[in-house]
């Protein structure tokens, strides 16, 4: 139950903890990192810092109906990399994709042993597949199952502790600071190594459902993953990559729900208002139904603009059994979509399901945005490893890949711990500064009683991003002038965060969520400005540079914020082909 907000810093209790491995974010990837560390060395102390409750936090809260990345018998690592590369328009970190594919199947098989029901083909001992790489599961309780295993392995779990910044010694990361959203305490956790796995960033852009009184969070992505992992890395000077490759996708209209369940699962074609099979008929030259994901995201937008919207997935050919199975799939993943169909009174054999784009997200498990890491998942800051949606370079990780990457990050972190020979000390000055920063909105509420509530700042930012940085209301399109306008106002907003107030601990969390989102948005705009071309129409559409420019931009766009000056430097890193073949074909 909520504790009162402190009215002075002296009131804030401090909890000082020491651990070997700190995992920030006990979601899918973080849980697998923690368990892997314990398996490799049961004597290690492993601590997870989680803003919610480990049993139902992050993307897996409501469950999943499929694991999109599993190498079935006969499939090769090279095939997987080629597919992932072509889906992402030819630009991925192939070294990372190969190392991920090497252990990709392990977490899924482990989950099954722990109790997760996975569907099998009727005639054999092979998992049932949905598309090329997807297997179907009954995953509504998969996070609860995973959390039990984290506890069984003897990890320390700090639920309801919101991470706000790293503890550093020079540029080395030696743990993190956070606050308890229940107990109002300051948590200072010193660690030999740290894994960040806080997921991606939702809520940077205004969702189109926001007009409804209670529908601000009708988001596809988990709205409680706000990009904190990116923000704390940005503030500490970590190198980030490919933020401009935004995750825009086709989603069910209004509900903003997953679509692969229907379109891949039941092979329902995408049609426009005129009933044309759009992908097959109009986008055959780009791969038709197997076109890269950004093309498929862009299609409903293009059709609307051309006056041929709305678009649908044509469910009218489905059998009653298939429709029942499809509803079961949704009940395992986004149960309220079944309620949505019931609330529309919609018989989808008569009336197809409408589709549309989503508000753009930054999600490194789907696109390549996030920390720039090496094969061990070490970031550019010593002592810090990244995995899952927060780690960059490897799109199309999804559930299986994010979990596997958690294992890789843990292995990297343990090697680092074993090599470690210089002890560090927590800098008490740094802790005092962070404590003051964390509780500032609460203290302002006591001293001034007036200022900005986090929600109004959030909505201002979301509208700016939507209208000037290629949001859904602009059909994902943007140009230099708009981006510069957004940047100017984001800087103003960042400055105005000093006026934030918080009236309870929940609102204090919201205050930090908007501060973090602003840091992510600022870096995102820098990336969008730098890439003066259109590489992934839909994900990144520059109306002032409508074509791809391989001469200048067939490379990664990276950035680093200077922690001393706050300047954001943007630069490029070369692409390296590891797996031979045509990069644009699977």
């Amino acid at each position: 139950m909520a504790t009162k907000l402190p009215t002075s810093l002296a009131e804030v209790q401090e909890v000082m903890l020491e651990t070997d491995l700190l995992v920030i974010g006990a979601g899918n990837s973080g849980c697998f990192a923690a368990i892997e560390a314990k398996k490799l060395n049961p004597n290690l102390k492993v601590t997870l810092m989680e803003k919610a409750h480990i049993d139902r936090s992050g993307c897996l809260a409501a469950g999943m109906d499929a694991i999109n990345t599993y190498l079935k018998k006969g499939r090769t690592i090279e095939e997987f990399v080629r597919w992932s590369r072509s889906q992402a328009g030819g630009l991925i970190r192939e070294d990372l994709a190969v190392s991920l594919a090497e252990i990709l199947n392990q977490p899924t098989e482990q989950w099954e042993e722990w109790g997760l029901p996975i569907d099998y083909e009727e005639d054999g001992d092979e998992y049932h597949t949905r598309g090329k790489w997807d297997i179907t599961i009954k995953g509504s309780e998969m996070k609860v199952i995973l959390a039990e295993k984290v506890r069984e392995h003897g990890c320390e779990i700090l639920n309801r502790v919101v991470a706000t910044n790293y503890l550093t010694d020079g540029n080395r990361v030696i743990g993190a600071v956070g606050f308890g959203v229940r107990d109002g305490k300051l948590y200072v956790v010193k660690a030999k190594a740290t894994v960040v796995s806080t997921g991606g960033a939702a809520g940077i852009y205004k969702p189109y459902q926001a007009d409804g009184v209670d529908s601000h969070h009708y988001l596809w992505y988990c709205p409680f993953n706000v990009g904190t992992g990116y923000a704390i890395g940005i503030r500490a000077g970590a190198e980030m990559t490919t933020f401009e490759m935004r995750w825009c996708a086709t989603r069910t209209k209004d509900f903003n729900g997953p679509i692969d369940t229907i379109s891949v699962g039941y092979k329902t074609p995408m049609i426009n208002a005129k009933g044309e099979k759009v992908l097959e008929e109009r986008y055959a030259h780009l791969g038709g139904d197997a076109a890269p994901r950004f093309i498929r995201a862009n299609v409903p937008m293009e059709e609307w603009q051309a006056g041929r919207g709305p678009c649908y997935v044509d469910t009218r050919g489905m059998t009653p059994e298939q429709i029942r199975d499809m509803k079961i799939d949704y009940l395992n993943e986004r149960p309220s979509f079944v309620l949505f169909l019931a609330a529309r009174g919609q018989d989808i054999r008569q009336e197809p399901i409408e589709i549309y784009g989503n508000d753009p997200y930054i999600v490194g498990g789907h696109t390549a945005s996030g920390y720039w890491v090496d094969r061990k998942r070490a970031t550019t800051l010593p002592g810090l490893f990244a995995s899952g949606d927060v780690a960059g370079g490897t799109p199309n990780k999804f559930v299986g890949g994010c979990a596997a990457e958690g294992m890789l990050a843990a292995r990297g972190a343990l090697e680092y711990i074993n090599r470690l020979n210089s002890p560090t000390k927590v800098n008490s000055e740094q802790v005092a500064v962070e404590k003051a920063r964390i509780f500032a909105p609460a203290l302002r509420q006591t001293s001034e009683g007036d200022g900005l509530i986090p929600k109004e700042v959030e909505e201002r930012m979301q509208r700016l991003m939507d209208e000037y940085a290629g949001g859904i209301h602009q059909f994902f399109r943007m140009n230099k002038e708009g981006l510069e306008y957004a940047l100017k106002h984001l800087r103003l907003l960042k400055d105005q965060t000093k006026y934030l107030i918080a009236r309870d601990l929940h609102e204090l969390m919201e205050a930090h969520e908007v501060v973090d989102r602003l840091d992510v948005a600022e870096v995102l705009i820098h990336h969008l400005l730098y890439r003066e071309e259109t590489r992934w129409p839909g994900w990144q559409t520059r109306t002032d540079f409508p074509s791809r420019n391989d001469e200048k931009f067939d490379c990664f766009v990276n950035s680093r914020r200077n922690p001393e000056t706050g300047e954001i430097e943007v630069f490029s890193r070369p692409y390296e082909q590891v797996v031979p073949g045509d990069r644009y074909r699977p």
């Binding site: 029901p117 309780e141 229940r182 209670d214 009708y218 079944v338 309620l339 019931a342 609330a343 529309r344």
Partner: protein
Amino acid sequence: MPPRVNKEKCDGCKAEHEPLCEQICPGDLMTLNPETRKAYCRSTRDCWDCMSCVKICPQGALETKLPYQLGYYPAKLIPLMGTNKITWTCIDINGKVERFVIKTRND
């Protein structure tokens, strides 16, 4: 849309150190009204409709409703948790009832 709390059924999870819906919500949205000792959602715009609170409530006191701007009245979707399975009952706006029993764990 936040879950609707049935004030008759909600007992505030008296036996728990913290109400179960409050413990579980990934968005930190459910809490108790200190006066009535009944649960409520503190920020109605922020619910993801993940239904974690509905699934965990031991009294069946919570019901997910869609925002009216998105879906019509009065559709219902009610989960009932078993040890290794979950039973869903769905009633659409025309009164059509569907029931689904789904395995949640291997035996």
